[in-house]
């Protein structure tokens, strides 16, 4: 029975992303966690710059927040448009603890995020008591309304939210933690990395508990879950509360890292961003939001150093993901698991290289054309030189355009030619041996019940 279950986990229908997160085996694989912990440990030795560490801190915070969000969206099927509120309130709570110097001086900094978590959880308990009564559009719209309300309150209720300037504090006033005062970014990095591992582990374990499993059941078929004797409302409520807790932790870590929390931590734009991050990574897998958070932070922070059009590229990437890979980046990766399991992945390597390299060149060519158009339209008068991909040229002459269009067209033409090769290789790599085919079909029909 074990074998079909595993098969089932890896050969789901890409057309139904919501069903992707399947029960799978109950065994807990420790290896990925050990590797992740080790990677987190050595990362600062590879990238020693303060800015690289700051960006990694930002990534880690986004990862926790996105994982918490996915407890709702991916595991519980609840679409929230106002989840930044819980992270933000957690952050504000931590900041107030930090500014209460007498109390803070007795408190080691690493325990501070718990306050954020508790406040996020408390707010989630209040809001969830009425918003989780039903899922779907009602839940989504209540989350939108509440999100807007609290964001609006943040500029009106200055005593708690500090107006648009926010609330700030100094993390070094806490009780030294084994002699560490958290003066440097690197010390904060390890604090955040510790919380990242802990929260990710706890959230993963939550998804393995009966409540976590029931959340999946309620997501897929609330009626059936009710018939089994579960109150779908309570199941949603529990998911919501735990999600609020971890969002609050993320907010608390934000407060520690930046030492300032402002209205942007809970406004609707932040709520929208976390939705994008999670969906980009893939809601169907536990690690999906992790990939999404990393990719989006790079887009926002690193790509924006290179081009003012970063949001345009991010939007395009996002739309392309929704249209062509609804499983997100994680779904894209997991499509390869069957081939790897069957030991046929090597068949894909060459077709991938000959298809994806021209595709990449074509996409970069398109990006270059976009940049050139933008420069041609908006650059200052007389400033006709521009640099794209380390090449400097005059955007007002025909030559660069011919070259860029030429490269793009040729690259896409090559890609088109190579596509059939890739398709057949894909089919071949994924063709199950005859004996296995029937069990595979069998298991996918069991899909709904699993």
């Amino acid at each position: 029975m074990n074998n079909p279950m595993r098969e089932d986990q890896i050969t789901t229908d890409p057309a139904k992303p919501a069903q992707r997160m399947r029960a799978g085996s109950m065994t807990f694989a420790a290896m990925p966690w050990v590797i992740a912990a080790f990677a987190l440990l050595v990362m600062p030795f590879v990238f020693t710059d303060n800015s690289a560490i700051t960006i990694m801190n930002q990534m880690a915070i986004t990862i926790i927040f996105a994982l918490a969000y996915n407890m709702l969206l991916g595991q519980g099927g609840m679409l929230s448009f106002g989840h930044a509120v819980y992270a933000g309130v957690g952050g504000f709570a931590c900041m107030h603890v930090m500014s209460n110097t007498d109390f803070f001086a007795m408190l080691p900094l690493p325990v501070l995020p718990i306050f954020g978590g508790l406040f996020g959880m408390g707010l989630a308990m209040i809001i969830g008591s009425f918003s989780t009564r039903s899922a779907g559009t009602v839940f989504a719209m209540i989350s939108l309304g509440v999100g807007e309300l609290i964001a609006a309150c943040s500029v009106i209720i200055v005593a708690f939210f500090g107006g648009e300037e926010g609330v700030s504090g100094d993390r070094t006033y806490g009780m030294p933690f084994f002699g560490v005062e958290f003066l440097q970014q690197i010390e904060v990095y390890y604090l955040i990395a510790f919380w990242l591992m802990l929260s990710a582990l706890l959230m993963y374990l939550f998804s393995r508990t009966p409540i976590g499993r029931m959340a999946n059941a309620v997501r897929d078929n609330p009626e059936r879950a009710e018939f089994l004797g579960y109150s779908s409302r309570w199941v949603r409520y529990y998911s919501f509360i735990f999600s609020g807790f971890f969002a609050g932790i993320a907010g608390g870590l934000f407060a520690i890292n930046y030492e300032i929390v402002t209205e942007e931590n809970l406004n609707t734009a932040s709520s929208g961003v976390i939705l994008l991050v999670t969906f980009l990574g893939g809601v169907g897998f536990f690690f999906g939001p992790i990939i999404g958070a990393i990719a989006f932070t790079l887009l926002q922070t690193v790509l924006s150093l290179q081009t003012d059009l970063w949001a345009f590229y991010a939007g395009t990437l996002f739309l392309a993901t929704v249209m062509f890979f609804p499983g997100g980046l994680a779904g894209l990766l997991m499509m390869h698991v069957p081939a790897i399991r069957m030991g046929k992945a090597s068949k894909l390597v060459v077709p991938y290289i000959i298809t994806l390299i021209p595709a990449l060149i074509g996409i970069l060519g398109l990006a270059a054309l976009v940049e050139m158009t933008f420069h041609f339209r908006h650059a200052s008068f007389g400033d006709e030189e521009m640099t794209v991909f380390w090449t400097t040229f005059d955007s007002h002459t025909a030559m660069p355009w011919v070259v860029a269009i030429g490269i793009t067209v040729v690259a896409f033409a090559i890609m088109r030619r190579m596509l059939p090769t890739l398709k057949s290789a894909w089919a071949e790599a994924n063709a199950a041996p005859k004996a296995n085919a029937s069990s595979q079909a069998n298991s996918s029909s069991q899909g709904g019940a699993a």
Partner: protein
């Protein structure tokens, strides 16, 4: 008391404008069962196209052609985008429109830049229609009222009295049956989406000169349109009308009168705390109605969703 009349007119203009957006959105919702987050973006496109056309051909050509272009783009989005995503389910659909809204905003900035566009009221309508005790009512507002009412009547007529409208209504409720009767349902869906977005385009054309034509105009209006149709009841045209007017009047009156939270709290029996400056809730005591006017609709929506999840006029659970 004259101010009440003026406010009624102003609220009517705001409400009718909102209605033009929410009418299209609610039609689209009845059809596809999904909220179109990019709806306000089509409103913005309407304003920008109209501005571009008005430079060359004048305002009136803009009024005619901009909504047509927006409608065609909307139909294209349905045909090549939404229809593809539809198979994945409602959440990806909703997220698709969400992403589309972001992309359209970026595109508009890419093409027109980030500044306000000097899109102006046509000279023919740039005069004061009448004045009520010193408060002038611009002719353009009267024009906006008439256009919106004409559109509502036209829409109602088409939907309830014509054959096309009957088929649309049938297709909304029983798409399979209508398809079996030989009608091209995907085409109807595409058409409804196109018409819905072009209505948003009309709203953009006529609102652009008064409310400003800038890349943030969709974001400012975006979520309030949802609030409207949720309050009115998803899929109900009458609901959209009533909710739009309600929101128009509530916000206008809340802005026009300085009602202080302190007075309300005193009125229901709470005494003002002695030293207010040290009080934890001092900000709540100091709130005035203009401060919160634009978030009142959200409060209304949350309350309605809690006590009447299908909205004022809705007949099905959202």
């Amino acid at each position: 008391m004259d101010l009440v009349l003026v406010n009624l007119i102003d609220g009517l203009v705001t409400g009718l404008l909102l209605f033009m957006l929410s009418a299209g959105l609610t039609l689209i919702f009845s059809m596809m069962g999904v909220l179109n987050f990019a709806h306000a973006s089509f409103y913005m496109l309407g304003a920008y196209f109209a501005y571009q056309i008005s430079i060359a051909l004048g305002f009136w050509m803009g009024l005619i052609f901009a909504p047509l272009i927006v409608g065609v783009i909307g139909a294209g989005v349905e045909r090549y985008g939404l229809r593809r995503v539809h198979q994945y389910g409602h959440v990806p659909e909703l997220i698709f429109t969400f992403g589309l809204a972001l992309l359209i905003e970026e595109l508009v900035q890419f093409i027109w830049g980030r500044n306000q566009m000097p899109y102006q009221i046509p000279d023919v309508l740039n005069f004061t229609a009448f004045a009520i005790s010193g408060n002038s009512i611009p002719a353009y507002k009267v024009f906006m009222i008439f256009i919106s009412i004409a559109i509502f009547i036209g829409l109602l007529y088409v939907l309830t009295k014509t054959r096309v409208g009957m088929i649309i209504q049938a297709a909304l409720s029983y798409p399979r049956t209508v398809e079996a009767l030989g009608h091209n349902v995907p085409l109807i869906f595409m058409g409804v989406f196109g018409v819905g977005t072009s209505l948003a385009g009309v709203a953009g054309v006529i609102a652009g000169p008064v409310l400003g034509t800038f890349p943030g105009m969709a974001f400012v209006l975006g979520s309030i349109v949802f609030v409207t149709i949720v309050i009115g009841g998803l899929g109900s045209l009458w609901g959209a009308l009533v909710a739009s007017l309600l929101i128009g009047w509530i916000t206008t009156f809340a802005k026009s009168y300085n009602i202080r939270m302190e007075d309300i709290l005193n009125g229901i029996g709470f005494a003002t705390p002695e030293n207010l400056d040290d009080n934890m809730f001092r900000d709540i005591w100091a709130v005035t109605s203009p401060q919160i006017a634009d978030i009142l609709p959200y409060i209304l929506m949350v309350l309605i969703l809690i006590f009447r999840p299908y909205g004022l006029f809705g007949n099905r659970d959202a």
